[in-house]
Subunit: 533 residues, 2 copies
């Protein structure tokens, strides 16, 4: 964003309006135009400002927002190259009918656009590059002091994570008690209570500018931001979980006006929506629709409940399933059920955390956390990692809440798993649904087989005759295999080749019944790839 601002040029000074705008923006970059106007009343609520951006047959309507100090901004993420022109619309004459244009150029190498649903169950960037979500969580890292924020960014940089769950509102929890420096609202002149101190009609632009810098900093690291719009971790401290629906909508309008043009944004309507006691289920349906409606780009959107609390993920506004539930990834064969039910991508965004907390959800071993990630992978779904180590009192950093440094061992395994996925033949699905719980396929002769906690001395080379939606293997097909140690993070090629024999009871065995000798260890996988003729 800083780089783009250098490109600003003052286009016109007309009466009280000064319009700054860029002349060139990358595809999926962020165009921003600035308008000045001094409102008499409350510029957040009294001024309506939108703009229509047009390029050939395409027209996209976006909302502007008041950024304080008599500055209004309109942001736009151009989805296509070429010449874009725009025209504003406002109830304020001086902001109305402002026009401009810019050139949208090819994206830079690292810019692949926003992430979208790919082939029903998976994700890719807008330019088609596959995106395998290997995420982690740091709910309130953005509300910690600057030093800790920088440390968190450093930790993320050294990790392989490409998605981060984080909250807009600060978090109040027995493990996270820090008071933030910035709040999303102005303080009222006359507060009547601890939570009724905010003027919910006046946002604090400094708060949102910090959030934007954080989102951009994550974008620089190649990390998608799974931004949690509401959450229950307030408990009467600030009152952001208990605003009236009118205020919730106003907040959504402001948030989406500011952030929808950030290409690495995903919307998570809530964390643990069902634990937000002041809101009803119908409130959540309305909030989900409102966020979607106000996002002109239809970024990925989901809503996340407490353990095993499922929402209507079939709603058309919801692009993917984001659930808290470990049951689907603890044992064989369950991870795929939700794919089959919803016909959408499934991300198990909470399945427990590697850590040492007293809470049972926060004391998994690194091995278990890694196992759960692989169990999701083998089912054609995704698990989000998390870390909850605490060695001191509640001022200690726990990555899950505050960010900081890595203390565990599964974060490295997540990076290794991402590498395996990205080296692979494409998005995975179960090769033989509900029958073979261990074997995933990406088609074109690519199989990934996971043994989980099973310890085997050897494995007779065999593949299912079924192959998901893909073309089936056939007798005579030749394969090579590699042993993947998901814990040691090693890949060991097997020297031998394998050749499929005739179909034998829903399987093809190697025609000489060749075996692969396995180290007597858990957490192994096999990568099996066809040898091209």
């Amino acid at each position: 964003m800083i780089a783009q601002r250098i490109m600003f040029s003052c286009m016109a000074v007309l009466f009280a309006v000064c319009s700054f705008a860029q002349t060139q923006v990358e595809q999926w970059g962020r165009f921003e135009t600035v308008l000045h106007y001094k409102a008499n009343g409350n510029a957040f609520t009294d001024v309506r400002l939108t703009a229509t951006f047009s390029n050939g047959d395409t027209s996209i309507n976006v909302s502007g927002f008041y950024d304080g100090a008599d500055v209004f901004r309109i942001r736009f993420m151009p989805p296509a190259t070429g010449n874009w022109s725009y025209q504003t619309s406002s109830n304020i004459r001086l902001l109305n009918n402002q026009k401009g244009s810019f050139q949208c150029i090819q994206p830079a190498a690292a810019n692949h656009g926003p992430v979208k649903v790919h082939k029903q169950y998976h994700f890719s960037f807008a330019d088609g590059k596959l995106f395998y979500p290997v995420g982690t969580t740091a709910y309130a890292w953005n509300h910690m002091g600057q030093a800790l924020q920088q440390q968190t960014l450093q930790s993320l940089k050294q990790s392989g994570f490409n998605k981060l769950r984080m909250c807009v509102f600060p978090k109040n929890y027995d493990l996270v008690i820090e008071e933030p420096e910035l709040f999303p609202y102005e303080v009222k002149q006359q507060a009547t209570s601890k939570t009724d101190k905010w003027d919910l009609t006046r946002f604090n632009p400094a708060f949102f500018r910090q959030l934007e810098q954080q989102i951009d900093a994550l974008q620089q690291l190649g990390i998608e931001v799974d931004l949690i719009v509401f959450h229950p971790y307030d408990k009467g401290r600030w009152g952001f979980d208990a605003m009236a629906q009118e205020a919730n909508f106003r907040y959504i309008h402001y948030l989406t006006a500011r952030l929808a043009a950030f290409r690495n944004i995903w919307w998570s309507v809530a964390n643990e929506w069902d634990l937000v006691k002041p809101k009803t289920h119908d409130d959540w349906v309305a909030l989900t629709k409102e966020i979607s409606k106000n996002d002109p780009y239809k970024h990925l959107l989901s809503i996340h409940g407490s353990t095993a609390k499922y929402f209507e993920y079939w709603m058309p506004e919801i692009t993917h399933v984001s659930v808290q539930d470990e049951a689907p990834v603890m044992h064989w064969g369950a991870a795929s059920i939700l794919r089959n039910v919803y016909y959408k991508p499934v991300v198990y965004d909470e399945v427990g955390y590697e850590g040492n907390l007293q809470h049972r959800w926060g004391r998994y071993s690194a091995e278990e956390m890694t196992y759960l990630m692989w169990m999701a992978t083998i089912g054609g779904t995704y698990v989000t990692h998390g870390e909850t180590y605490r060695y001191k009192d509640n001022t200690d950093t726990i990555f899950w809440a505050k960010g900081g440094t890595w203390k565990g061992k599964s974060w490295m395994r997540a990076a290794f798993m991402r590498k395996i996925l990205e080296e692979g033949g494409g998005p995975l699905e179960p090769a033989d649904i509900s029958r073979d719980m261990h074997t995933a396929t990406a088609g074109k002769g690519y199989y990934l087989l996971y043994f989980g906690k099973e310890i085997n001395e050897y494995w007779v080379f065999n593949l299912p005759t079924k192959n998901g939606q893909f073309e089936r293997a056939k007798p005579g097909d030749r394969f090579k295999a590699e042993i993947i140690d998901t814990w040691e993070m090693t890949v060991t090629p097997i020297a031998e080749e394998f050749v499929l024999g005739e179909q034998n009871d829903y399987r093809y065995y190697d025609k000489a019944m060749k075996k692969i000798k396995l180290p007597m260890k858990p957490y192994l996988a096999l990568r099996i790839t066809a040898i091209k003729k």
Copy 2:
């Protein structure tokens, strides 16, 4: 039905119309009135006949149907006692505006009304009596010869099954090749092909009368009929899977007009809907809605796909989930996922069959079939049993298709399981969702704990502190326990009492850490019940 027909009395002879009707009918029994009219054209399609039944503020509109030989019938299942009057409506003057009334009396002891959804995830009869579906399947038993039909009814009588999946249309499959005696349609004067031999505008009343007798015979045995309206097992032999949508709708109208007044009917829109190649997904949505719309009583309704093929079970017309998928019941913790997703009762109507077929879905051991039933139970869901033994050629009876005699061992275990359920404290749910995969609760101090394939020497008495939606146990609560051997079908009380100690890491252990000695065998369960103070 035979008993009720004796009560018929001729109410009026008016011109060509003769109206027979009963004067007294049980609540949820079947009232039937008969009208005579000789139609010039096609009485199935040219005559529209409905009746409105009224009792106080309640009015219910039902369709009549043509039963051949100039006879029209109107059936009605009164949902409440008292005086019901009715009035017909027809495009035929002689059938129009016919009136009558009858007295609806208290139901007999064995008549509990139709089965409904109970407490979101379970079932009960209309009178409140709980219904635990312990079903089996005999898809085409009703298309076999009379002797085999009688044998099937005898087998069902000696079993504990209370639900049967069966098809309206005959079945053509490598294991079921018999040609039925009766078909649902009249044969055309001039057939153009093997499948284009039916006059799809003229039903064969004899076919439907046989079906009705079968449904009534099952009712006498206390068995709910999960009636499969469409299926893919035709494959060009008769063409009933490939009728035009107009003919499908006509069939639905006729079927529901005849059968909706049978209290033991459930509608299964299809078996393996996705394998019916002539129909699209949207066709199934329309057919599902059409059946529901034409059933004035809103009997239970679902639709069943092939392995792991899920439908939009969130549709309001669909009362419960009826799926084919073994993945949810093969390993711990997955059975409940679908409950959590759909907020509806879940019946795993196909999870594989006890048998000896070459097909892998038809060669489970009796132990495995029994295990799957219990795995569903412990997850607060239901599994349908099935048997697929074949010892000779394709003329051999396989209960799953043709009925006949039991050849397996799990059918008895299903009866035992039903007994345990019906003795229990009510519908079960996981006590500690997604965390304790073994323990179900019915509240009021009732727990059912299943060990599955685990073999244990002893078990330290302990219960989860969580207890689903029910009141939690507390320190000092006293319990007794019984060992249930689900395979041997025995219940062995433990002499000792157990007393809960203080909460210990999400569990209450017996305060003296008392153990229960277990036989070193798989497939054991514990029934734990609070001792009333």
